[in-house]
């Protein structure tokens, strides 16, 4: 992934630019290959939602309010099967647990202790999902700290807004997708996640954790479906952390 516009051009004078300039730059950085790939994945979802009998308003409400594709797919299945409110909430919550460690890892990048307001962070956190998270972990460290939060909010809202509109258009326009196209759109998400997650890995620990997760994910899913992703993260991530910590600094 090539760096977005402006990454190389940051100097000390940029530190004092107002937040709205950084928001605008973030929105401009959202015009990117990952955004197109995510859009294609949501176009695939629009087809699924329509076949499931969801209305346009319901499809768009889920896209904008949930903003995490795996959770949206889970809730679509729940709505479709007439599942009750509580079981559906539990199913979606299980699919979304991953957002918590992602947000924890993301937060120190944008938070300036004593200055950043909590409500600003709560709003920004809504945009934490794989695409924006990977982008943030990879690119935000090269920006001045004051710029990161407005830049990320600009990036996230532009991305969400664009995908939201394209999902609506796809719902209205695409009558019935050929099987091969629908299947290709479904494969898009994991391959794109795979490449960009590797690109966002900062340390060896991240790369080892990724390999561990790839191997453990399906095994844990077969042994203990439901909370499988959380266990995969805890087991694989902890093993990767201690393994690489030993490599870095021995037993200290």
């Amino acid at each position: 992934m090539s760096p977005p516009d402006g990454v190389a051009a940051i100097d000390d004078a940029d530190k004092n630019l107002p937040g709205r300039i950084w928001m605008f730059r973030g929105a401009r950085a959202a015009i990117s290959v990952p955004a197109l790939i995510l859009t294609a994945a949501f176009i695939g979802y629009a087809g699924l939602a329509r076949e499931s009998g969801l209305s346009l308003a319901e499809t768009l409400a889920m896209t904008g309010l949930i903003w995490a594709l795996p959770s949206i797919v889970v809730l679509t299945g729940a709505l479709n099967s007439g599942m009750g409110l509580i079981p559906a909430a539990i199913a979606v919550a299980l699919a979304s647990v991953r957002l918590m460690p992602m947000t924890i890892a993301f937060l120190p990048l944008v938070k300036i202790p004593g200055k950043t307001k909590t409500w600003q962070l709560l709003i920004a956190s809504h945009f934490v999902a794989v695409t924006a998270w990977v982008f943030a972990m990879k690119n935000l460290p090269s920006y001045p700290k004051e710029a990161r939060l407005p830049f990320f909010v600009g990036f996230g809202s532009a991305l969400t807004g664009f995908v939201f509109c394209m999902t609506g258009i796809a719902y209205l326009v695409v009558e019935r997708m050929p099987d091969v196209v629908a299947g290709a759109l479904v494969l898009l998400t994991p391959v794109y996640f795979l490449c960009s997650l590797w690109g966002a890995a900062l340390l060896n620990a991240d790369k080892v954790a990724m390999a561990a997760g790839l191997v453990l994910g399906p095994i844990v899913f077969l042994v203990a479906p439901g909370l499988d992703l959380l266990w995969t993260g805890l087991l694989g991530g902890t093993a990767a952390y201690f393994g690489t910590r030993f490599m870095r600094r021995g037993f200290s």
Partner: protein
């Protein structure tokens, strides 16, 4: 079409409570838990490992146990397409678009070929 609901507003209650709240609550917990961590702390390295392993687990689940029409393709084709895509990503000096396109060309090509043979 599934029995989505009897009233027009029930699906929106579902979307608000079982969708929006059930998802965003994790992000809010993350904000409160992450606010105490320093950018360069060891704990944060561990948390990032957990988050990365978790997303990686999701990736391999999406490939091994896909939903919808993709489930009808043979597993080996999905694995070859993904492996080819990741390989192309590396050879192109980590350009995501090259990896994605390579995987898609392999999947679609293999799928059409199998359709013709089968």
């Amino acid at each position: 079409m599934g029995p989505v609901a009897d009233t027009w507003w029930w699906p929106f209650v579902m979307i608000l409570v079982a969708g929006w709240f059930a998802t965003d609550v994790w992000r809010w917990i993350g904000v409160f838990a992450g606010g105490r961590l320093r950018e360069d702390s060891e704990v944060l390295i561990w948390v990032r490992c957990v988050a990365t392993a978790l997303v990686a687990g999701l990736i391999s689940k999406l490939i091994l146990f896909p939903q919808g029409i993709l489930a009808e393709t043979p597993l080996w084709l999905r694995l070859v397409a993904t492996g080819l895509g990741f390989g192309a990503f590396f050879l192109s000096r980590q350009r995501v678009i090259v990896g994605v396109l390579a995987a898609e060309v392999c999947l679609i090509g293999g799928w059409l070929l199998l359709d013709r043979v089968g």
